[in-house]
Amino acid sequence: MSEHHITPLKTYLVIAGALFCLTAVTVWVSYFDFGSFNIIIAMGVATFKATLVALFFMHLLWDDKKNLTMFIMSLMFLGIFITVTLLDTGFRGGVNPEVEYPINKRAAFYDSLPLTDTHGNPVDEHGIDSHEGDEDHH
């Protein structure tokens, strides 16, 4: 068992400074739109900050490595749960293709076709057969 580690105050201050800087980075990047990477960047910075806290403030860096192993394992199990569940929700289209590849009913292609109702029967311009939902054909 490792003896109790005494961290110099300077280390704490440096880490605290780094955390403040990273908070500023989080705020700064929020002004840019990276599309689907927004969440990845935000979570990446947050994860890095959490790692700093765990290693230095929670002393995992100097502690018995079993504690670090336990900590990483718990994160790993959380990771397994979230990623594998996302394998389901992210790929549901395999069962329902219309979910994965939704038909864009406003696509230009549809303008060249005669107007039809939901059953494929032709309707006139003012829509004798038309009912709610048919505006999608235009």
Binding site: K66, M73, S74, F77, I80, F81, V84, T85, L87, D88, T89, G90, F91, R92, G93, G94, V95
Partner: protein, 540 residues
């Protein structure tokens, strides 16, 4: 000193409070055993009630609503109040410190707390039963569980609470195994039951919080209408199944790994031969514990999860077969050319090998997506998990109980009666559950009180044998209790099977209140039958 030798944990100290507030792992183990057996009895009665109803096609004995309550309570009680806590809580508590040469577990007060947390959770379950039951099935699937008018909240609260007992026991065992071994008792000299408890504890700590979260989310949705599982509120009902099975599949290994540990103890001792493939068995325990976390989706092949997930889960499911096969073959090879004696514990272990293998092999059917879609929610699944859970875990538990009974209670039961009961359990079990495979293949769905008359013959057969099964287990337990009469005391030095682990060689039967009268010194490994001769001693 002579007076000191007469002391044992059962009689010293005396008084009801010395039991209720005890910090002694052996007494806590016995209290868990008592709790477990009470709920086993209750769950068993519910099962017999169901079989009685199913003996004939119509609603002869109970209404559909009552039947829904009965199967839900049977499942929930057997799983959460008996199988999960019974082996680690009763046999694990009783034996772990003895096997390590320790005076107690690492945190004795936490151990007592975990027993009372279990009791508190059990009270919630008892309240659920008294106040009208719950009818969702033991899995509490949404959306029904968020809309059912039965007592879902007290039941799920009970399970939430019992989960903490499980986590604390796991934590305690891990600390004990790391820190409380006597000098020289290195990892590869540990009895395999300890390895099994270690693997189980890891799963208990890492998986159980998820069932707690799941139950809380379910309660939040029911009480406050927060949309987590209800699509109308932006939730996803399949997400519930992900949450539930992320715990409950690893929980299958919380149930079966300690049973593997018991079998790994019984077989070498009663074959008087060194265990074959010690390290293989030890590491197969850990790999089962790990792989168990990656296969939960195989419970959800018809839930509407993505085809991609189905393929991944089905593929990974087959990996579980590798470490499990390693264990089965190692046990068979241990018996090969050994001096196998057909004592009651060994008969249970042999039944286990046979029944668990059937359970495991039918798991291969269910792990295949295409076949599972046909068999899902039929009696085939019911038969499969009873072969694994009852034919596996409960048979191993009964075997372990018979193996360590002389150690823990200091008396020997009638071995002929015990052997006959074991035969009765084996025949009764197969008679009850084998027809259910056929029923399932022919399309009989689970969880119905009535059925088409074409299934009547097999159901009738199953019900008849369930009576034999129930009776055999009842007599087996009565036989154990009957052995407790005073005239039946064994000599404290008794080692009836000639076992080599510390709990047999270094403590009296029943053990001293502080386990060992002097610090035990490790003289040989747990299964060194090729090096040392330990003769069975058995005298009154």
């Amino acid at each position: 000193m002579a007076e000191n030798q007469k002391q044992n944990y059962l009689t010293h100290p005396k008084g009801i409070m010395s039991w209720l507030l005890t910090l002694d792992h052996k007494r806590i183990g016995l209290m868990y055993l008592l709790g477990g057996i009470i709920f086993f009895f209750l769950g068993g009665l519910l099962a017999l009630g169901m079989r009685l109803e199913l003996a004939a096609p119509g609603n002869d004995f109970m209404s559909n609503e009552t039947y829904n309550n009965v199967y839900t309570l049977h499942g929930a009680i057997m799983i959460f109040l008996f199988i999960i806590p019974a082996i680690p809580g009763a046999l694990g508590n009783m034996l772990l410190p003895l096997m390590l040469g320790a005076k107690d577990v690492a945190f004795p007060r936490l151990n007592l707390a975990s027993f009372y947390i279990y009791t508190l959770g059990a009270l919630f379950v008892v309240y659920t039963i008294i106040s009208g039951g719950v009818d969702t099935g033991w899995t509490f699937y949404t959306p029904y569980s968020t809309t059912s008018t039965s007592n879902v909240i007290p039941m799920t609260m009970g399970i939430f609470i019992i989960g903490f007992s499980s986590i604390l026991t796991g934590l305690n065992f891990i600390a004990t195994i790391h820190k409380m071994r006597i000098p020289g008792l290195t990892w590869y000299k540990l009895p395999l039951f300890v390895w099994a408890l270690y693997g189980t504890s890891l799963v208990q700590i890492t998986a159980t919080p998820v069932i707690a979260i799941t139950m809380v989310l379910l309660i939040l949705e029911r009480l406050l209408g927060i949309g987590i599982f209800d699509p109308a509120l932006g939730g996803d009902p399949v997400l519930y199944q992900h949450f539930f099975w992320f715990y409950s599949h690893p929980a299958v290994y919380i149930m079966i790994l300690p049973a593997f540990g018991i079998i790994s103890e019984i077989i070498p001792v009663h074959s008087r031969k060194k265990i074959w493939g010690y390290k293989f068995i030890a590491f197969s325990t850990l790999s089962i514990a790990f792989i168990g976390f990656l296969v939960w989706g195989h419970h959800m092949f018809t839930s509407g999860q993505s085809v991609f997930s189905q393929i991944v889960f089905s593929f990974i499911t087959y990996f579980v077969g590798i470490p499990t096969g390693v264990k089965i073959f190692s046990w068979i090879l241990t018996m090969y050319k050994g001096q196998v004696s057909f004592t009651p514990p060994m008969l249970y272990a042999l039944s286990f090998l046979f029944l668990f293998t059937i359970g495991g092999l039918t798991g291969i059917f269910l792990g295949a997506v295409a076949l599972d879609i046909h068999l899902h929610d039929t009696y085939f699944v019911v038969a499969h998990f009873h072969y694994v859970m009852q034919g596996g875990t409960i048979i191993a538990f009964l075997g372990g109980l018979h193996h360590w009974w002389p150690k823990t209670m200091g008396t020997m039961y009638n071995q002929t009666v015990a052997s006959i009961c074991c035969l009765g359990v084996f025949l009764g079990f197969n008679g009850t559950f084998f027809p259910q495979f056929l029923l399932g293949l022919r399309g009989m769905p689970r969880r119905y009180a009535t059925y088409d008359p074409q299934y009547a013959e097999l159901h009738n057969y199953s019900s008849f044998w369930s009576g034999i099964l129930g009776l055999s287990i009842f007599i087996a337990i009565m036989n154990l209790l009957w052995s407790l009469r005073k005239s039946n005391k064994l000599d404290p030095g008794t080692n009836p099977w000639g076992a080599m682990t510390l709990e047999w060689t270094h403590t009296s039967s029943p053990p001293h209140p502080h386990n060992f009268e002097k610090d035990p010194v490790l003289e040989h490994g747990p299964y060194d039958y090729d090096k040392v001769v330990v003769e069975p001693t058995f005298k009154k």
